[in-house]
Symmetry: C2
Subunit: 276 residues, 2 copies
Amino acid sequence: MTYSELFEQIQKKQSFLCIGLDSDIDKIPKHLMQKDDPIFEFNKQIIDATHHLCVAYKPNIAFYESQGISGWQSLEKTVLYCRENYSDLFLIADAKRGDIGNTSKMYARAFLETLPFDSITVAPYMGEDSVSPFLEYKDKFVILLALTSNKGAFDFQYFKSQDEGMNLYEKVLLKSQQWGDHTNMMYVVGATKAEYLSDVRKHVPYHFLLVPGVGAQGGSLKEVAEYGMNSHCGLLVNSSRGIIYAGSNEDFADKARLAAEDLQHSMSQLLSNYFD
Amino acid sequence: MTYSELFEQIQKKQSFLCIGLDSDIDKIPKHLMQKDDPIFEFNKQIIDATHHLCVAYKPNIAFYESQGISGWQSLEKTVLYCRENYSDLFLIADAKRGDIGNTSKMYARAFLETLPFDSITVAPYMGEDSVSPFLEYKDKFVILLALTSNKGAFDFQYFKSQDEGMNLYEKVLLKSQQWGDHTNMMYVVGATKAEYLSDVRKHVPYHFLLVPGVGAQGGSLKEVAEYGMNSHCGLLVNSSRGIIYAGSNEDFADKARLAAEDLQHSMSQLLSNYFD
């Protein structure tokens, strides 16, 4: 999916919602455990109930890997189910990968070829050759970690160079623009620090930002839009637990739909404020 | 395996060699393609031929993930084969993972429980809560990226704070010592910059260092030992391509053994220099 096509989907659905599929075998409704593949069945019902309310799904790869081979089977089925049934979705592998060039090439193959994701989250610590193999795929995106929403973000991401007059996360934003542009790169920017979004926007006015941390992690959607929206929306706001675990019984998919509708309604309002 | 047990293995085998299993379906000998699981068959023959010459194996997870579910099957079989046949091996999942706390917990489960590795490489960008879930496993190790051996290492790892008087990689070494110690943490330090090993040793005198980059990436084993060895050896030096692809025909495992013997002989000499 291209930058323009993603914006078209946002306008059509009046939503910039990404739903995080952090599907945990210990948290999904108990009645699903009778199914052959409980995790896939859970994801399928969530997707069927919410696909018209969001533009993206983001399976969190750790949750699948924790189950070994059966987890990879659930992941593959989920991605293929989206591709076969809903052609308008942007699919993000939340994998936080990154290694030396010949190894990142293998991770790129894993998530952008073997599994047909549109994008993958990548950690910047190892620099250009750890990121560039992911950028060689046409109409696919690297989503590079810049400023994350967890407590540990303060350990290194704000490490400041007086020489260069900036923090590490700003250096990541600037340096990485030599490797790709807004048509093949996005950034992860945590919503728990919405006030920083305006600083981020000074460095990357055109890029999409993947914003975790609205909902369970405490960010405010209104502030995110105020500081982060650009002329192509430029935002994918993720909610995981607040949607997928909104219910815990047989009606869990309906509950998830209601939670997603709440967010989509708010997003529709924010989009109309900006684009009218 | 504990810190002391690893040192015992090094003394017993007179080797601090780690063999990287970057097993690539496009590079393994062609005759193996007739086997049910060519990658596992390749690994099995390499391990049978070299296990007495090394203390550790390091499957590079990207190469397995690039093959999807069948790759995970090859990986699982490889790890279980080591566990069942050679109880004295230290097994490293070279995975470069790291995410927010509840997600790193899942990666820890994937590689330290579901797959019975002794250790996993972890990227530091997201800070403490991205690393600490891996540290909760008794007698297992986090191997944290500090100074990597690739060109991209220069993009961020040398980012310097005048305030703190150090580079990012030094900050990672110092800060992370608040989370764990030499009994549950090691560091990745690239051998292409052997002269930096003495700087690294000032910060982490007791920790083991996992040193990639000897061989294909150009580092010198002698310099690594000179600058990096400590009273418990404190080094695991990795070679991947130089050993596993030493041959490309039916005698590939013999060729791998010869290449590993060369390194083990050099290591034995360096150990005797240090410990006599």
